[in-house]
Symmetry: C2
Subunit: 673 residues, 2 copies
């Protein structure tokens, strides 16, 4: 690479982009860890993007109509930290750059949206960013249709590397963006031909250009170090109505001894090589030092968007007060005031009518009441609409000719759906929920974890939540998935027992601001158990006494979801034999664990009574804390559930086969007494 | 669709293929559940494939050099069951067809390899089959190079639907197959333009032909109901040296009222419509009835391969006895006799030299000893070779010009790697292992579950197993992944504490026949704790007393992996204060739980001593059973671990921050006493 020629061709651009390179080199060397090469290679693209195209105001990084910038190749975090520092971001100070990857710094190893306002999404696990971006771009389309172009009209830019494009999730993202002609989505592919193991050819020879074209993308190929070519390509990408991929041929770790090698991917910490690279760059000064003129040019870039922001604020002030209120409420993740009354009315109606329906159907009933009063909800399913019961009449189908549509046919793409939903929520102004079979939590898992880690209140509607799936057999029957979701920090796992608890679960999920929710719902019909209407949301306490012992309490049955009715049946049998039995419904273990000890002891009184947990899933799903802990009488508890995978047969026969029956619960209680 | 024209054009083919259609209709109607339309649509392709191309002998469905047939679109299970019944498979009798999806039947809702010998792999979760097939084809290439074309020379055929191709994992499979020019892999795409939600266009407009071509595949497009076109396409596919995709334009539920609709995807149970379809087909007889001439034609197809099998058996008998023994041993999943001595020698050497290394490095040391004596191992990594330490000198790199290579650069494709490893193991004769970061268990999760469900002893080498990851931060730091793996039935989760336990874990993993193994290994160095050589594999008991209390035992510390040395340090501090402390190392909870109660009580004696569990992960990972259960003194136990996601900082500081230190363990013990 002829660095001198690059320097001479456009010296001003060169110094601006090299500021990123130098900071990346210094910060990684300082941390003695990180990834130097990617920020160095993509510095030219990032510089042109922010200098000439990004609608961005560093003084207001969360202004709603800004362009979004997503670093899907999150390991190159110093690219975004350098940009923010150079532009004068109030959070990413020089001190933060110097503390890159250190305890308590905002400049974490990978960019984290919950630490830095200007970081749109947490990336690092590869392919997530590009799939988040599909959600950002969809959210923009929907809101543009909802609020008008004067209030919503922006682009989503992504930098993705070879790793992102090799991960399967990228295909789901590419397919979705192509299908929906997301013309405001522009992806830069950092085509540097290097992965950790060596050259890309070691593991892939896919022609990425043809691959993107096969899904209907607009594609350009450019020299990623030529500022004019970059500018022209972005200009062209902004004009097309299709999603756009710009293949940027770059040199990883450009100008460093490790250029174009897999070593260049990682931490370049050798002091002599670092100095040699800076010399070749013509970069003056000490570590972390940026010449004043370069810094002030960057600061000017940082405030380029201020006028646009002010113009937008004026337009926003002119918008009707109703529209403004709705917009602000949605962006603040505030539920409409009507929500709680709506839920209460629904609960009352259910308690009166006492339907016997599957909780997936109960969920549809809740959504039918909620969606009309919450225009920020966006529903969808990974090709199981009729099974997940996620679609309500009023939503309309999101499509190229109906951008107002709030229901998305995600296709057979659980992972892409989950990542895009995260993106929609992070974009702001939207409350996405989406469905698949609970067993396919597995496919969506990397994005579900990121929802929890990044504090995104996405709602995952997971139906067919046990062996109740029946004939489809063990490949479709979750047994360990409640355990998986419950083991994940910052996740609400709801397993409602009837239509009332389902409505209550939805209310909590849709008022959560920082915690994703998993709704585990049945395929099979369940009786209404909450036949007495209560204003209070009992699910919010995680667990409560559904039915108390008639006489002296000898046993406590704790159950969730479809097994609460098994517990109620067992109670009847036990009481008939004079064994006083309390039934505790526990729709959300996390919320119960969060109650104070007084409440928990009220529900699960210490000692005396024997306890049996009932859940058509593995005991490892958090049960021991209630059966052995919480001052239970040692040894005086048992569990009725699954300790193997399921089988293929009618659901009723499977519950018999695996012993998840009232008779078996009775047997266990009596054995304990 | 002009059914009459199809019937008349090739009546004999029509009746054979319609036998599949009729059986699928009858069995689904009988079960009142299942998927009728796909077997009906792909019956012509399957018929031509088995009649003219598949090297298959129904009397010996596991003959090693047979062609493999993989139904990636596993919901169409009646296709494979019909084929097997028609050809005279000894397991899939008419009775089984009549009991489709019923309790105890081999004919489960989705095809399960562990129920029916002729079913190569368990499918249903979409995209798995096509990715398994990549592993089958790789295994064939490697073994052809190892044993010669006379013993190994067969094809892998796959039927994949739109669902398989929309799942991201398909892109990982397509990229791998293209990269490695897997010429013996032939995929039929059931191009029926229907998904559950409606037409494919609702969610995707990808040009699949161009997509496969972009990854170097040979692609043909044919009418999937034209037997001559099918035959010619297979012929051409067999000749090319590239992987081949045959796009078969088909009509789902052909000839039925639900043809070409999403209703046709599911269970077609209406008796009148069923009768009308059979009438249109010209299909005589009652339900489940197949005309004798058609049945005998199919039985002839079933034994077409017998002569080829016998010729192979003769060639096999002529092969050298060493080669035969090696082949048979590998297919029987028997470890070489030398393995246990090799492991013992390594353990002895470690106990003497007492290296302080990361367990990922210990794993490499074990592999360096194992790989040369086990030619059936195949290693690899999802682009983290240098970090996972999965590559040993002797393996060689698998490539188009080195089919003997036993190390695979999987690229950034954890999911595809896991599925392909499952395929390799299912092919027979191979012991695959592959690495990624433990956190990216998430990406591989659907295939890891299928390994457990399908009883495949794949080995997942998961390094960087805790906050010990350090600066890369919470996106790369597992906290819930031990819980996830342990909650999954039929999975060994090893978290070895030092190089000796790592070697022992490998021995168990490589002698397991029906259980996959997860090796959770550290990034950071650990001292050797097993300094006294023992012949016995102590890890095989799951847990053991590493160091007993010096005086009166007051505390038991139970720890795994990197935290065992924390426990040893805490013991030292406690003993100094006169608190007798036992340290139990628990490298594998599943194996400990499988011991008899006598042994378990010997390690964790009831009552008296207080217990503290130590693991840099969430307590939900199975800890309560040892801390609250197993006759622990109620309330007299505690846990030192994680209850949140991690953070980005140097590893040592993180262990301090989250309190996973000897000092904190001491504090907890003293608080309990």
């Amino acid at each position: 690479m002829d660095i001198v020629a690059l320097r001479e061709k456009n010296p001003e651009h060169w110094m601006k982009s090299t500021a990123i390179r130098a900071l990346a080199l210094d910060a990684v060397a300082g941390a003695n860890s990180g990834h130097s090469g990617m920020p160095m290679g993509m510095a030219d693209v990032a510089t042109v993007l922010f200098e000439k195209h990004m609608k961005f105001d560093v003084s207001a990084p969360n202004w709603p109509d800004r362009d979004r910038f997503i670093l899907s190749a999150g390991h190159g975090s110093m690219l975004i930290y350098s940009l923010l520092y150079l532009m004068g971001d109030s959070q990413v100070t020089l001190d933060q750059i110097k503390n890159f990857r250190q305890m308590g710094a905002l400049t974490a190893g990978h960019p984290e949206n919950f630490l830095i306002d200007a970081v749109e999404t947490t990336t690092g696990p590869l392919g997530q960013g590009i799939a988040n971006a599909v959600g950002f771009a969809m959210a923009e389309e929907i809101q543009r249709a909802q609020y008008g172009r004067k209030l919503v009209d922006h682009k989503t830019y992504v930098i993705a590397g070879d790793g992102c494009l090799m991960e399967g999730i990228s295909q789901e993202a590419i397919g979705l963006a192509g299908r929906h002609s997301l013309g405001n989505l522009i992806v830069f592919w950092d085509n540097n031909n290097i992965t950790i193991d060596g050259s890309v050819e070691l593991s892939d020879r896919t022609n990425q250009v043809n691959r993107f074209r096969a899904s209907g993308w607009h594609v350009q190929e450019i020299d990623g170090h030529d500022p004019e070519a970059i500018d022209e390509a972005i200009e062209a990408a902004k004009k097309t109505k299709r999603p756009s991929m710009i293949a940027c041929k770059t040199h990883i770790a450009i100008g460093h001894a490790a250029q174009d090698t897999s070593k260049g991917h990682g931490a370049l910490t050798d002091a002599e090589q670092l100095a040699a690279a800076k010399e070749l760059y013509g970069w003056p000064g000490d570590a972390y030092e940026v010449p004043a003129d370069v810094k002030s040019q960057w600061e000017a870039i940082g405030s380029r968007g201020a006028a646009e922001r002010e113009a937008w604020e004026a337009r926003f002030a002119d918008a009707g007060s109703g529209k403004r209120a709705r917009f602000e409420r949605a962006y603040a993740l505030e539920a409409p005031r009507k929500l709680s009354a709506t839920i209460r009315n629904l609960k009352k109606q259910i308690s009166e009518e006492q339907p016997s329906v599957a909780t997936r159907k109960s969920s549809e009933m809740a959504l039918a009441a909620i969606n009309p009063i919450m225009p920020e909800t966006v529903g969808g399913s990974a090709d199981l609409t009729g099974s997940n019961n996620t679609k309500t009449e009023d939503l309309g189908i999101f499509d190229t000719n109906n951008r107002k549509g709030r229901y998305i046919y995600w296709g057979i793409r659980e992972h892409g759906m989950a990542a895009a939903m995260n993106g929609m929520a992070l974009h702001g102004g939207m409350r996405p929920y989406g469905g698949t079979f609970f067993c396919f939590t597995d496919y969506a898992r990397p994005s579900m974890r990121l929802a929890a880690l990044s504090k995104i209140p996405t709602v995952f509607v997971m139906t067919h939540d046990s062996i109740g799936v029946g004939e489809d057999g063990p490949t479709h029957q979750p047994v360990e998935h409640l355990a998986i979701c419950r083991a994940t920090p910052n996740t609400y796992v709801f397993r409602p027992a009837d239509s009332v608890e389902t409505a209550e679960s939805w209310e909590i999920a849709l008022t959560s601001k920082e915690t994703p929710s998993v709704l585990a719902l049945t395929r099979q019909n369940l009786p209404t158990l909450r036949t007495e209407h209560k204003l209070k949301n009992l699910t919010a306490q995680g667990a409560y006494v559904l039915a108390d012992a008639e006489g002296d309490r000898q046993a406590i049955l704790i159950a969730t979801g479809s097994e609460v009715s098994v517990a109620m049946e067992a109670k009847k049998l036990l009481e008939a034999e004079g064994i006083g039995t309390r039934v505790v419904s526990m729709p959300c273990m996390e919320l119960f664990a969060a109650q104070d000890e007084t409440y928990r002891r009220k529900i699960l009184p210490p000692g005396k009574s024997v306890r049996v947990g009932i859940e058509a899933a593995v005991r490892a799903g958090g049960w021991d804390q209630w059966l052995l802990g919480e001052r239970a009488r040692a040894g005086k508890s048992d569990f009725v559930g699954m300790d193997s995978f399921g089988a293929s047969a009618p659901a009723g026969e499977l519950f018999e086969k695996f012993g998840i029956t009232a008779a078996n619960v009775v047997k266990k209680v009596k054995a304990l007494l």
